[in-house]
């Protein structure tokens, strides 16, 4: 592709690294190349930078003149299965990636999240909402954002009659991890059958540890409740939602937008696409919406 360079990057982060793919837009036609703006893409449930919107959006945005950085957080892949995929622990990782983008010379840093990734970026933006601080971001894009991750998961499990039930997992989790006494509890990997459909097949099964479940899906997982976080977001927000999404109800985007507007954010947009949760077959349309939204706000 002659409108972008693509490079695998490992961003130093303490004693470890954050992996990502940097897509540097080189598109020049009609003064398209913005050069100052980069979109950081955060994956969904069990996702990574080789999957879904993290993979298909960057080339589309690059053609529109916008660079991208698609990253793996600690919740990528099987972070939820082995105990280290704790939502709030992604915040320092995002801090580092934002810093890295600024080190690359980008003045406008936009965070984009897909599904679970929207919980991460909304939590982040609600914390880093002071433009005088270093980790300043300039916009948020949410794709298929659940109004509240715990509510969304509970509703789905109840619908399919999950085994064990949401309430049973909640009771067991309290016993095992002893919330409030962090460090003294145990942890254990658990399977939830019939969590995503009416069978015991692998595709209908979810896997967590009690601790990762507690912080993402439990009734006290406040950091994963988008409706509480979006009210503290001060930067422009673009919400995009599929009409036929089986995971996130279409009205959730409107409700989130309304909350942000009510809280005083004057730049909130919501778009609907004739698509399901993964935006399959609507990739170009999704990319076009984002490019136009970016053009209006960040084009030089």
């Amino acid at each position: 592709m002659d409108y972008m360079d693509q490079e695998l990057v490992s961003i130093p982060f303490g004693k470890s690294k954050i992996d990502g793919i940097y897509y540097h837009s080189t598109f020049k036609e009609g003064n398209r190349a913005d050069g100052n703006t980069i979109v950081i893409h955060v994956h969904g449930f069990l996702g990574n930078f080789l999957d879904g919107s993290q993979r298909f959006l960057p080339p589309i945005l690059a053609e529109g003149g916008y660079s991208s950085l698609a990253i793996n957080t600690r919740m990528a892949n099987f972070g939820l299965f082995f105990g280290y995929g704790i939502l709030n622990d992604t915040i320092p990782q995002i801090d580092r990636v934002v810093e890295y983008a600024q080190e690359l010379g980008y003045k406008n840093v936009i965070l984009s999240g897909y599904s679970l990734g929207t919980s991460i970026i909304l939590r982040y933006a609600s914390l880093r909402n002071d433009p005088r601080k270093t980790h300043n971001i300039n916009g948020l894009i949410t794709l298929a954002a659940p109004y509240s991750m715990p509510d969304s998961i509970r509703r789905r499990w109840d619908y399919w009659g999950s085994e064990p039930s949401y309430q049973e997992v909640f009771e067991e989790a309290k016993d095992i991890i002893k919330p409030g006494l962090e460090g003294t509890g145990q942890d254990r990997t658990i399977l939830i059958y019939k969590a995503r459909g009416n069978s015991y097949c692998p595709e209908h099964t979810e896997i967590y540890t009690y601790r990762t479940w507690w912080h993402l899906a439990g009734p006290e997982a406040k950091y994963a409740m988008a409706h509480k976080k979006i009210q503290n977001v001060k930067v422009p927000i673009l919400l995009i939602q599929g009409w036929h999404d089986q995971v996130v109800r279409h009205e959730e985007a409107q409700q989130l937008a309304q909350l942000a507007l009510n809280a005083g954010n004057k730049d909130v947009s919501a778009f609907y696409v004739n698509a399901g949760h993964t935006f399959e077959d609507k990739e170009e349309e999704l990319g076009d919406i984002i490019v136009r939204w970016l053009d209006r706000r960040f084009k030089d």
Binding site: I21, L50, F81, F82, T189, P202
Partner: protein
């Protein structure tokens, strides 16, 4: 001058599965040098990927510093393949086949596969089934004598819950008479599979079907000792002296089988101060690889 490359490639296996790979090549004076110099096709271990710690992550750069290109792939066994049912051991050779074909189409004439751990057993199964003229040798790192036997020994060592034999009994019931075509499958957890606790770090996850073809007594193609005698290309075993996962006698026994079958181009090198991952000691590992690769053409 051919410039340095570091790029992600995606291509389909013949059943449509998308293989992702990372190509790392250095600078070469001429295009023919790039294509004549051996290229190492790296295949990851259990639930690994081309960025997993150890050999997958470290070796491409180390090879590039020594003028050797590499292509690290994610097969269907990568990430959660074995957990959600797509990671069928026998099918994974289609991914290696697609990668070898891709390299050959690009023009690489001297391809060597380096399989690490599970990847070593996959690589043997590939190479005894598909003889590509551009495939010039195998490097087998931390290669188990038999994946089913390794699993059984480990689960018995830690007194797993459920036990190996119990999993086998349940798997037969779930999968029925024809595990290959069975529509019935289920994810299961083995507690105390890697250590003595119930902590997530000691847990193993499979579906019955993925376990059946990789770990069960019926996983014929993962019993490397039963198939390796058909391998006629050069083989280098590298093995950490302190490997806790695969006993050093296992590659020795595989070498013996190869020699008895008439393949005398087989070497085995033990890497000091390394466990299951030889790149714990790159200073010892990389020169061994470079020297062996210098004889490949």
């Amino acid at each position: 001058m051919v410039s340095r490359q570091r790029k992600i490639l995606s291509f389909p296996a013949k059943d449509g599965f998308t293989v992702n790979g990372m190509l790392v090549t250095g600078e070469f004076k001429e295009e023919k040098d790039l294509y004549e110099t051996p290229i190492v096709l790296l295949v990851h271990g259990v639930m690994g990927n081309f960025l997993a710690r150890g050999t997958p992550r470290l070796l491409p750069n180390a090879l590039e510093e020594n003028g050797i290109s590499s292509f690290s792939i994610n097969t269907r066994m990568a990430f959660m393949g074995q957990i959600f049912g797509g990671g069928i051991f026998d099918d994974s050779i289609m991914d290696i086949e697609a990668a070898v074909d891709r390299l050959a189409e690009e023009g690489f004439r001297n391809i060597v596969i380096l399989g690490w751990s599970l990847g070593a057993n996959q690589s043997v199964y590939y190479a005894v089934n598909i003889q590509h003229p551009n495939l010039k040798g195998l490097i087998l790192e931390g290669c188990s004598y038999s994946l089913p036997l390794s699993n059984k020994k480990r689960l018995e060592k830690w007194d797993s819950i459920p036990s190996y034999d119990h999993i086998y009994e349940i798997a037969k019931k779930v999968l029925g008479n024809d595990p290959r075509t069975s529509k019935n499958d289920r994810v299961f957890i083995v507690y105390r599979a890697w250590g003595p606790t119930f902590n997530p770090s000691d847990v193993e996850l499979h579906t019955y079907k993925t376990w059946w073809f990789m770990r069960s007594p019926e996983a014929t193609n993962a019993k490397t000792y039963e198939i390796i005698s058909d391998l006629s290309i050069p083989v280098l075993f590298i093995h950490g002296e302190n490997d806790y996962a695969v006993d050093p006698d296992e590659p020795r026994e595989l070498k013996r089988i190869l020699n008895e079958s008439g393949n005398n181009d087989v070497e085995i090198k033990f890497i000091p101060d390394a466990r299951h991952d030889c790149m714990e000691n790159p200073g010892a590992t990389v020169p061994v690889l470079i020297e062996w690769l210098s004889n490949i053409s």
